[in-house]
Symmetry: D2
Subunit: 327 residues, 4 copies
């Protein structure tokens, strides 16, 4: 990634995205997502999500998402701030939305007392580390389109899902009926930079204004574009995500066998969820960084990454086991 | 009410609330809610709720309410539009919030990734026709204040609650720890006009600007003030609400005995909730106006009002019984 | 007006505008503004203006108006709050926009760094008491439409302009190219109630949602509709406005001859602007209500109304003259 | 700058700014702006400006700025979008605000019909390439503070002003009464990254929430912090800005002597404004990138930069001279 930035750091180029680095990166996105795909580079994952939603909504619309969705719990209300829309949340044990879970919100169309549903937003992988199948995604896309709605996918870690499913990006995005995608790179090795990808024609006319107004237009955009080009054209995404997923499997194996540890979700990407004794959290967090996901049950989330090593996993698992044993 | 308006419709008075009608009405509110109460007149119930919330929030705050709350389901997203805050909803069988139900949201204070909880909003009576006791309200107020939060009460039908509890307004608002109140008159006999009442000192400094910006400042405010003065100083509120509540009890008695009709909520104010056969809805709605509350279960809401008559109740119940009997 | 309200205050009618009073009022608006006119009733003049602008804008648009426009100086920033758009102001000596004055803002279309101009908003009569001719309005409409923009007219006092021009409403609105109109009644005799009128087909699809979200949907709308029907179908508007304009002419005659008083604007509707000695303001305001328009020059605005009497004018002019003479 | 990023690209560090690079950069800012200075890193210049304004405003406030201000003309309405405040603009020949120019807006305090003035925003250097003296800044700060307002400085190119004045940053910011500063690095050599600096205690409590909600929180913040540390601790800022300013002087000398070219502003930083024949714009822009500042007069803006060379200046000036001579 540094090499890509360094290569982009020479000569004078036009600012705000009208440069050759950006044009090349745009072509690489079409290779992965189909010829109708139009990509726009932004600065943060929150920016990618919020501007995706804003592109399809008026303030009287609502957005349906899982109660665990990043847009609901981890973005400080930025979606409401920028779009002014209502977020409607669905309880879901594994982070996945289902047709049945959504249906209770699909009424009141045309009635002015109710915010009008306009977007279904899913995360792939979900915030619980699970991965939608293409068929699951298609069923949500059909439901959306039958109701004049849009399917948005938060793909901050999309590479981890692609590796998990072992199919091309296009098979579970464009081909499965997704309309707009937040595609991230920062969580899988890039220094900075995220993107919004419109997967069908005619959807992006307003985007450049929303991006500028959303304070997401980088003046020296080539430093993002160059990273994305390197990330997507050279299999960096695959290598990094494959490694992270493998480390999560290793972590799952090592920790699920520790007496007293309960793994709570399927491990399909690069996250392991576990319930641990509350009195161990502090000791573990002194040595390792992780979030407590649910204070009430003491469910924690352990993430692996492109630069996690087997030794890291061993060290953590041993430390955990010794603590569980009263060490 | 028309007499009150007509009386206010003479002579020239200063616009925008600096008139004697408004000053008199302000004093009547102090009589009912305590000497610290400061009332501001607005134009709609949604306006009263939204401006109440806006008075205490910044866009990065969140508001906790029941999933059935009017601010959540019936105001077309106006709270999000104006305050830009996130609404966090609690599942509740009877429309009432409880300390336990709220606690899952009271974390992440000071953490910038999470919208910061700032208001607990309850409706009295609830949208399910149930009524909070003063003790229930106090426990929510204590929870709010312990967390540097505010307790808001949506009192669009507050008179029905007061009559149901048979205690003064002040006992279950100011004295129970409520900070700010939406107090309505339109649903209990007034032609138009709602109000926001701040129940503690030092809370209202910004309100006049928010009201103007929220398009809720009536130029000829005396027509609202005069109605409120008549409504509150002459027991109109009590007479009307007592009648409506009595009609709801009558409706409950007559319909609960109809075979096949299941009453789903306690009838404590002027609403009756029932599950009826879905195939009867259309026939009933041709003669009577009511909402289907839950499409999935065919739960309906029947409201009574200050001008409902016993004959109305008889007519409706007989019609329902005959339809249930296959008529 | 009270009679109209009283007539509407009988029997049960459907709430939120689905009543016969509202339907009748809608037809009367078509009589005045053409068969394509669609009227929506709202609660305040600010509401009418803001919702008119919101119907045509996204947050990255801008609205061009006179620096004296009500939307710019008298609505506490409600247009920016609700539409989030930028207001671009034009200096104008008489309150009127001109093609030349606007042109400096008509660039940067399609460039994301600049808010995109979308609406030209004029007031008729202007805030300076002057009245646009139909030809002046047409030239602004043409400019707007050539640039894919919309012409909005703030007609809070439109009746005064119609009487001044002595032509039907339609001649200087629909026929002159105006797209959307804020039409007011409160300043010309109604107790409350304003309206938004779309003058061309296909513009109003989103309005009902914006109105609800803008807290401008009256539950008992018939009390507004009934007033508008009475106001527009029975020449109340003309009688009242004609009287107010005549009183303004009388005021102009009486005060322009007072030595030391300088009338600063043409008197074409029901406002007289004058520069008076700063040290007289307080004494005059003790007896008469008026605004100081420009603190620097001590320009004041005197408004006449449907209930101003010749005796009022005489009294004011005599008092002014005596004060000027050192009385 | 690349070296700084590369140095930060090693090992695992805590995300979102709780890292040693960020803490070191914070100390460097205190060295330059005083011990009360608190810096927050953001992603774009628009982000820095908008979040500065949002920190001090409610939606009913207004912000006073030059009609040429970046926040007014070049940010696609992002300030209105995020703060919902009104921007009040002052005509100014040289881009500088003056006490006299602002005073017309300092009325209506406490009157709910008017947006309440809360911030004076100036750019240093101005968008016209001129530089405020410390005394000029102090007079604006005094005016602001007398009216319970805040002085904001847009310092996207602050280094160019410091070099021009030849005094420390602190002398014309903190010591001159500025309250909050947008301090930029991208336009003077950094790859990306901007900052907001609060110059007095007690102003920053809400900032972290606004930054997250404004989509300006970088997860890998150390890549910004490391650049700022290198930029400010090693005189990179001074060397780069001194060079850019010197090149602007050279450009001024070379072009002001070309017959037919009129330089329109004092050249005090790194911009030269000139009126040129409209028919030369296209030919010049084919070889050189610059903006037409005013279409009506064909005033153009030529910027110099840290990497402009004397040969660039020579080439441009010669090309211009030859074109002017009919070449």
């Amino acid at each position: 990634m540094l090499d890509a930035i360094a290569a982009a750091n020479s000569g004078h180029v036009v600012a705000y995205g009208e440069d050759e680095y950006t044009h090349r990166a745009e072509r690489v996105f079409k290779d992965h997502f189909g010829s109708n795909a139009e990509v726009f580079f932004v600065l943060t994952g929150t920016g990618a999500n919020v501007l995706s939603l804003a592109s399809f909504t008026r303030s009287f619309n609502s957005v349906i998402c899982a109660e665990t969705a990043h847009i609901q719990v981890d973005e400080c209300g930025a979606p409401e701030k920028f779009t002014q829309c209502k977020l409607l949340t669905v309880c879901t044990p594994d982070g996945k939305l289902t047709v049945d879970g959504i249906k209770k919100y699909l009424h009141g169309f045309g009635v002015e007392h109710h915010a009008q549903p306009r977007v279904i937003s899913i995360s792939q992988p979900t915030e619980m580390g699970t991965v939608y199948t293409p068929a699951e995604i298609s069923s949500l896309a059909d439901l959306a389109h039958q109701n004049n709605m849009i399917l948005h996918m938060d793909g901050a870690r999309l590479a981890n899902a692609a590796v998990s499913l072992d199919i091309p990006f296009k098979s579970f995005t464009t081909d499965a009926g997704v309309d707009v995608l937040s595609f991230g790179g920062t969580k899988n090795g890039m220094l900075f930079g995220e993107s919004v990808v419109f997967l069908r024609p005619g959807m992006s006319a307003e985007f450049k204004f929303l991006r500028k107004q959303g304070m997401q237009l980088a003046s020296k955009m080539r430093y993002i574009s160059a990273q994305f080009e390197a990330y997507l054209s050279k299999d960096v995404w695959r290598t990094n995500a494959m490694h992270a997923n493998k480390m999560a499997q290793l972590l799952y194996e090592k920790t699920s066998s520790v007496p007293g540890i309960k793994i709570t979700q399927k491990v399909q990407a690069n996250a392991v969820f576990a319930i641990i004794p509350a009195n161990l959290v502090e000791a573990l967090q002194e040595k390792y960084f992780f979030y407590v996901w649910d204070e009430a049950t003491c469910e924690v989330r352990w993430m692996t990454s492109f630069d996690t090593t087997p030794a890291d996993i061993d060290g953590f698992s041993s430390f955990l086991a010794s603590k569980m044993a009263g060490g």
